[in-house]
Structure formats: C-alpha cells, structure tokens
C-alpha cells in the first residue's frame, strides 16, 4: 500500500486546481469526487445523486418549496418518489451504522416537502435556446419522461410515443393507487409535459409506426420501453382458470377491473409486483394471501416499509418453497403444489441458489394463483434489427447508443427490471449524451462545490431522536377501497423532528494542523473514534486519499486529523478547541450547467 506522510498544511483545502468564486470553490479533481462519494453516502447511493443533506436542511428551515426544487434538479418526480422509491440511500445513511441507530427516513422527508410546499410554489427551470433538433422517445415511463424533460430544457423538440392511453409507464399501470395516488402522479407528469413536449398516446411503435420511420423523422430516437413481458415458469396447470401473470393482474386492476380472486390467494415471487398483487388481492376480498419465495425474505428486492405494510395487512410471507405444479378441477385452479427448498452457495460463494428438496412436495388449497416472477423487455418493435444482451437492448460500452446510429436506449429495457429512480437517472444521462452529440460538448456536468461554513444549530440531543414512524391508515379502513392511500405523510411537526436527525454529512470538519497544539481536547469530547492521531494517509490507486493510518504511539503521530467517514458532524470538537483551529466547510456534489 502506498502511503503519504502527513504534511502540515494551512487550511484544509482538499486539493489543488480549484476554481474560486468568492468564498466558494468548484473542483473536478477526482479526489474531491472521491471525498464526496465516501462522505455523503446517501447522495452517492442515490442513482440520481440527489442532494439529500441539502434538501433535508431546507425542510428543517421549513423551506419546503426549496427542498422540493432541490430534488427536482435531478429527479423530476419528487412527490412520486417520496412515496414509492426503493430508497437505496437509506441503506447507506450514516445514521444507520450499527452504533448510531437507524437511518434517517430520507424518503418520507422527500414526500413531506412535496406535500407541505404551498400550492402556489414556484417551479424553477433553466432553459437553453431552441436548437431545432428533434428527438423521438418511445415509452412515457419514468425513464422516458425524465429524458423528455431534460431534452426539452436543453432546447430540443421532443415527441413522446406511448402505447397506452396515459403516460407514466409502470407508475400509472403497475404501482397501485393505494401507494401512489394518481392526482400526485398526474400533477408531476403535467409539470414535465408543460415544457412543450408533444405526447402521443395510443401509439404502439412497431405496430402503428415503425422504428425506421421514427429514425427518419427525428435527429435521434430513444427507446425507454421498459420491461413489459412477464417471465414464464412453464408450470403444469398455468393455463387453468384463476391463474394470472402478476403484471397482467396489476395492469387490469389499475385499469379499474375487479378481478374475482376467491378466498385463498397464493402469489409466487418476491419483488414489487408480487407484493402489490398480494395487497391488491386482499383489497379484492381475499381472506388469506401468501407471498411465496424460493429463497428467503433477506433476498427480496423491495424496501422494508413495503414488507411491513404487507404484513400489517396480514399477508403471509413464506420462504424456502418453490412452486411445482398448479392443480385444478373442471379447468379451475383448486390447489398449488410446492416443494421445499434449501439454500446453497452460488459458484462464486457470494450469492445463494434455492435448490428443491426431493420428495418434499406438499399441496396448499387456493382459489387464485398469481405468478409474479419478474419481467423482461419486449423488443419486438425493433423488428429484430437490434443487437440484444439476453432479452435486453444492448448499448455500446459507456454509452446509451445502440448498434443503430442515432438510436439510443435507456431505463429498464437496457438494465432489466430495476426501480424508478434508476430509470429516471438513466433517462437523464441518455438525454445528456444525445445533447452532447447535438451540441458537440457536455453542457451538464457534475462538480464539487465547496463553501466556508459555520457551526449549525444542531444539538447533540438531535442525534438521539428516534426515527419518526409514517402515520398510516388503519387496516380496517384500507381494505374497503382499492385506492385509499395507506401512508398518510408527515405533518410539518413530524417532518421537522425527522429532519433534525440528519447529521448533515455535507459538512466537513477539519483541523488546521499548522495551528494545532496537540492538546487533544477535541479527542476527549468526540462521540466516537472520529479524531485520530495519525502517522500517514493511504493513497489509493487513482490518487485519492484513503484510510487514515493511526499512530500507535504518540512519538510517531504527525498530526491530529478528523476522519470524516467516522465524523457525525456533532460539532463538539469545534466547540472545545482552544486554538479555534477546527474549521467547517460545506462540500456538495452538484450539477453545473455550462453557460456561454
């Protein structure tokens, strides 16, 4: 391992080569990106790189509109995502480290700024001059909508071609209204369409118009067709009455059909679709609903809140069972036979496979079976002219362009079924690539903004506030209607309390080593091992600074240094330092728009 002796530096500037504007610095140095990645873990984990501490602080200050706009910079559907996001940020939140309690409810806070902003709130858009270029986007799901918005503000003419009657993709037809009320969804979609985007619904590309025709009339075409084709298990008995594919089931119910489900329903699969099918089945009058997994709950790819709400509605989650066959009489399903499974390490030793146990079959009586084991893209619209990656559309390495010139693809149709925030991020990035081709340069880039900051009014007590529970509708009231929203949202009091929990990891506490007298007063008050007597710092392969190498003996200690990855921004060290040599900066990963 390479290491660098600590040098005594004046000020705590991260690296050379920064651009200075007053008290603010901008940097594109990889080491500064490396710092932000490690130190603002929530923002790094968010596929769209949402400025989480920034918007949480605005919520604390009751600037809900500002918080909403901060989200909207990278995620055009904050009110939607505040309800249904898969929340990878919360898994990485520093507050969730094992000795620090539980993660901040980042997603609930996102929803709260959307709910609590006034209705007259000002939407901010920065437009570029019209370019005269046109882009056709196939599919108005989250990826397509995000790309459309981005291309529109960049000055291009956008036409969205959508096969269904309404835009939104899985947001409109997949996710049930009890999780995502349609007025919220429509409002945020309309805010996108207002940018002068031409939406053509009921146009199925491949059937009503060919891809070649689109490529002829547009300067670029982007496919964001998602994953619309359910996986098939090929179980004996799948064609019986009372057996549904999960995707069909949710789409039909979301279009208003009340599918009769009987008393007992078995759902197969463990993703969002499976849980939504189960929760819809309960609302359609089923008495016993189970979600059946080949592996265990640990391997479910949905967030904990979803699981909790499903269990609250008395949905059973059964692990270690694999469907074997579906049985019926007179063409109607009567039971399903499962085999028990056991877990086995995958070849690389990291994952697990579920292996059926021979002779372990048992049958469970059911009235309805819903098979929700995932979906893949339907690429039929390309007329087979396109190179695939399995069933997904293949794009060039590091690019969104496919094998066909001027034809791009993004979202679930490229990545396979993921989640909404990933689809939004991918849609935007594809738009930026298309724009760069049109203009000859990247106009939207990420940068690190650093600003001198002062001690905040967060108190150490705030670190011990318990996570605020999302108020929910009583179970008995949930089950009458298909649409009553279950999660009721934080009011401003709860949102304020929850916002206090965030450590504000975008603050950077550092010691000006040239002033430090090694009194170690800061170490004495530190709440954890955040300040270290250090002999050197590891240098990573890419030149970024790595771990601080602690001195084991006073004599080899060259500096007292704050380990920002351990720091919880409590400010205690800042308060006690007799030399006032601890300083604070605000470091933010933001997007910058190039100005002429």
């Amino acid at each position: 391992m390479k290491e660098k002796k600590m040098t005594v530096s004046k000020g705590g500037k991260l690296s050379a080569g920064k651009k200075r504007e007053g008290n603010v610095f901008f940097s594109e140095d990889p080491r500064d990106f490396g710092y932000a990645k490690e130190n603002i873990p929530c923002q790094d984990a968010c596929p769209a790189h949402t400025n989480i501490p920034g918007y949480i602080r605005s919520i604390y200050e009751k600037h809900y509109g500002r918080a909403y706009e901060m989200n909207r910079m990278v995620n055009i559907l904050p009110g939607v995502l505040g309800r249904i996001c898969s929340r990878p940020c919360e898994l990485s939140c520093r507050h969730g480290e094992s000795d620090l309690g539980t993660s901040v409810n980042i997603c609930h806070l996102k929803r709260s700024c959307a709910d609590l902003k006034p209705s007259w709130h000002m939407i901010k858009e920065e437009f570029y001059a019209p370019s005269g270029k046109t882009v056709g986007i196939i599919g108005a799901g989250p990826a397509g909508l995000a790309a459309a918005h981005e291309l529109a503000i960049l000055g291009h003419n956008v036409t969205l071609y959508e096969a269904m009657d309404k835009p939104g993709g899985m947001l409109m037809y997949g996710i049930p209204a009890f999780r995502l009320p349609r007025d919220i969804l429509n409002l945020e979609i309309n805010n996108i369409l207002r940018m002068g985007i031409d939406l053509k619904t009921g146009v199925n590309v491949g059937r009503d118009i060919t891809l070649t025709e689109l490529i002829d009339v547009h300067d670029a075409v982007l496919s964001t067709v998602g994953c619309q084709e359910p996986f098939n298990l090929d179980l004996p008995g799948e064609d019986l009455d009372g057996v549904y594919s999960g995707l069909d089931f949710v789409i039909r119910v979301n279009q208003g059909e009340r599918i009769p489900v009987g008393k007992k329903v078995a759902v197969i699969g463990g993703g969002y679709t499976a849980i939504d099918c189960a929760r819809l089945a309960i609302r359609l009058g089923a008495e016993e609903v189970s979600v059946n997994l080949r592996k265990t709950e640990t391997f479910m790819r949905i967030d904990e809140h979803e699981k909790h709400e499903a269990k609250t509605e008395k949905i059973k989650i059964n692990g270690l069972v694999a469907p074997f066959q579906i049985n019926g009489t007179d063409g109607k399903v009567t039971s399903i036979t499962f085999e028990r499974t056991r877990l086995e390490f995958t070849k690389d030793g990291k994952g697990r496979n579920a292996v059926s146990i021979p002779d372990s079959a048992f049958a469970a009586p059911v009235d309805t079976v819903i098979l929700a084991v995932g979906q893949t893209p339907d690429t039929g619209f390309t007329g087979g002219k396109i190179e695939l990656n399995g069933k997904r559309i293949k794009t060039k390495a590091g690019s969104y362009e496919t094998g066909i010139k001027r034809f791009y693809a993004a979202g679930d149709c490229v990545t396979g079924a993921t989640n909404v925030i990933t689809a939004i991020a991918e849609g935007r990035h594809a738009a930026h690539e298309i724009d760069a081709v049109f203009v000859g340069k990247k106009r939207i880039t990420e940068t690190i903004r650093t600003e001198t900051a002062s001690q905040t009014d967060r108190s150490r007590n705030d670190d011990f506030i318990k996570a605020s529970v999302m108020p929910t509708l009583e179970v008995t009231k949930r089950l009458y209607a298909l649409t009553g929203e279950v999660e009721q949202g934080y009011d401003d009091k709860i949102a304020g309390e929850e916002s206090k929990r965030c450590y504000l990891c975008n603050l950077r506490y550092f010691i000006d080593t040239s002033q430090c007298i090694y009194c170690s007063a800061c170490i004495d008050v530190a709440p954890r091992d955040c300040i270290k007597i250090t002999r050197a710092v590891e240098i990573k392969k890419d030149g970024a600074y790595g771990e601080l190498l602690s001195a084991t003996d006073w004599s080899e200690g060259l500096a007292i240094v704050i380990d920002n990855k351990r720091c919880i921004r409590c400010g205690k060290c800042y308060e006690v330092c007799p030399m006032h040599c601890i300083h604070i900066e605000k470091v933010e990963l933001i997007e910058q728009k190039l100005e002429a």
Binding site: S98, D99, T296, E297, T298, H308, E309, K311, T312, K314, G319, L320, R340, R342, L343, F345, R352, I357, D359, S360, V469, T472, E474, V475, T476, R528, D529
Partner: protein, 339 residues
C-alpha cells in the same frame, strides 16, 4: 501442548449454558466464553411471572452461583451485546466497540417478543415479560394497577392472565389466534379458552381488536374496532416470540424465520452452530424446518451443538410429545413443558 481455540457462545440461556458446560467437559484446554447482553446471570425465565407477583425472590431465579463458572473456567461476559459477526475473519463486533476473535461459535441468542405489525405503532405503550429487566420494570407498575389488558395468544399469555386474575386484577384479554405459535388456534380452541376465562372473570375479545391505543396520564385508553372504549393501567403484549437474528443479517449466515441449521445444528458457514429458540432446524424425515421453543429443548440442543462443534455428528430430534393442559386446552406438544 497449549491450545488456542476460543469457543464463544452468544446467549446466556439454557442453550448457551448447556453448550458451555459440554464444551468444557470434553475440552479442558480451550477458552470457553459466554457473551450475553442481559446483565443478570443465568436465570429461570419461566419464574419471572412468579417473581413479579412476589411469590419468588430474586435469588430463587438464579440457576447456579457465579462460582460455578469460575470452577469450570468458563468466562462469562454479561451486559455485552454482539452487534455484528464477520465469519471471514472470525470476529465478533460488540456494541461497546470491542472486537473479539473466535475459532468456533455457537449462536444461542433465544427469541424476543413479537408484536403483530398492525400494532407495532403502539408498541411504546406495551409492557413485556420476557426477560429479567422487563420484570424489574413491570414489578412496581403492577402492584398499584387495577385494570390490565393483555394482547396475546401464546402459552405464556394464558398462564399470565390466570396469575393476574388470582391477584384480583380486572383482566381484559384480546386473543390473537395466530399468535399461538407454532400453529394457529382453531375456532374451537379459542372458544374453549374464552369459556375457561369467563369462569375466571376475564373478559375476552376474540375477533375484535384494538384500533387505537393512547396514553392518558399514567393510564392507557384502548379503542376497539367496534368503537368500544376502555381504560387500563397497564397493557401486556404476549404474541409469541421471534428468534433474535437481526444482528446476524448480512453476515453471510443464512436465516429465514430463525438461523437456518441442518440436523446437526450446523449453519451454512463452517465452525458456526445455532441452537435453542433462535434456531430453525431442518428435519430430514419430515423434509421441513421447525423452530424450537421451550426450555428443555434448548438445553438438549445446546449439548448437541457443543458435541458437534467438537467433531461428533449427532442428529437432533424434537423431544417426545406430551399432552399439556393449559387453561382448559389440551395441547399435544413436543416443545413445551409446564415448568
């Protein structure tokens, strides 16, 4: 030749203690340590009820004197919580930031009270009775209390209700049929309980549940789904137990409802075993998994886990079934013994 083996057992209940004794009996060289987050030494959990009713004194709860551990050279670390296991480096991370290395590990972490998800938002109003610290908290609250509500349905809840009624408390019992782990109460069983309770003047709600619970001064107000309101001094929650496996998640040790082990009580990770209430055990005859419950089973499993850790390959079997008479209900069980 000196041995450097360090066998660690997490959990200081019957499973952990019998494992420690067997390890020491068969290996007088290795270091044997029990780590447990409870601060009180090994005690009879089932006596907690009698402890709070005043029938049993604190000393009677203790299974054995501290000197026993000294004699057997078993290191006891009380009040220390294991937060994370890293099997690759065979390291335990304790809550107070200490790292402890093991060569072989036995998980005997028992189970904790379950709260059905629909009630979890009211959890802060509930009292529990599953460990010594619960009993200490409850004891002073119970004597002045006149009206008590029990949200329950597990075996302990039935016993507990009877005890409270004998203490002349006014008891209201909300019976959750699906909490009679490991199977659900049938309508017949539920009405047998109801009948038995009515003889003891215990008011039972079998199909109507609380929809709102709020604290009102020192008391609690419960609103039921059919709009009835009642005020009680204390609310107990006995909805069965769930294995303590949260801290194991992400370590690579497989869990489902409990720690998944084969019939030898081995987990999927070498040198790590599980036994007692935290284990979910595969039964090759039934080709199914079962979760062990009960004091006696825990002890037997602790023994088996220890022997297998030392190289044997003993197969665990559920103990013999016997008929248990609980509050007017005949239960055929292999997992519980009236203690």
């Amino acid at each position: 030749m000196p041995k450097f083996d360090h066998y660690i057992i997490i959990g200081n209940g019957p499973a952990g203690n019998s494992a420690a004794e067997v390890l020491r009996m068969h290996d007088d060289q290795a270091r044997v340590s029990i780590i447990s987050d409870e601060g009180f030494p090994y005690y009879y959990r089932h006596m907690l009820c009698e402890f709070i009713s005043g029938k049993k004194k604190e000393d009677a709860l203790k299974v054995k004197p501290a000197s026993d551990y000294k004699e057997k050279n078993i290191r006891m670390r009380l009040g220390q919580r294991v937060e994370r296991i890293e099997p690759e480096t065979k390291t335990l991370y304790l809550k107070h930031m200490e790292k402890v290395k093991f060569t072989r590990l036995i998980l005997a972490t028992g189970a904790s009270p379950h709260v059905v998800p629909s009630l979890s938002r009211f959890e802060k109003h509930f009292s529990f009775m599953s460990k010594y610290s619960d009993a200490l908290k409850v004891k002073p609250l119970l004597s002045p209390a006149r009206k008590v509500a029990i949200l329950g349905g597990d075996l302990v809840s039935l016993k507990f209700a009877k005890m409270l009624s004998a203490m002349k408390k006014e008891v209201t019992f909300f019976l959750y049929k699906d909490c009679f782990y490991p199977f659900e109460l049938t309508a017949d069983m539920a009405s047998a309980i109801e009948k038995h309770f009515s003889g003891k003047k215990i008011k039972t709600f079998a199909d109507i549940f609380p929809s709102r619970i709020e604290s009102k001064g020192k008391a609690f107000e419960i609103e039921t789904e059919n709009g009835e309101n009642l005020t009680v001094d204390i609310i107990f929650c006995f909805m069965g137990m769930r294995p303590n496996i949260n801290f194991i998640q992400g370590s690579g040790i497989d869990t489902e409802r409990g720690v998944l082990v084969d019939e030898h009580l081995k987990t999927n990770v070498s040198d790590i075993y599980a036994c007692g209430d935290c284990a979910q055990i595969y039964n090759p005859e039934l080709k199914n998994y079962w979760i062990s419950v009960g004091w006696e089973n825990a002890g037997i499993q602790g023994e088996t886990a220890a022997l297998n850790l030392l190289g044997e390959s003993k197969v665990i079997k559920p103990s013999q079934k016997k008929i248990l008479d609980v509050e007017g209900l005949k239960v055929n069980t292999s997992w519980w013994k009236e203690l």
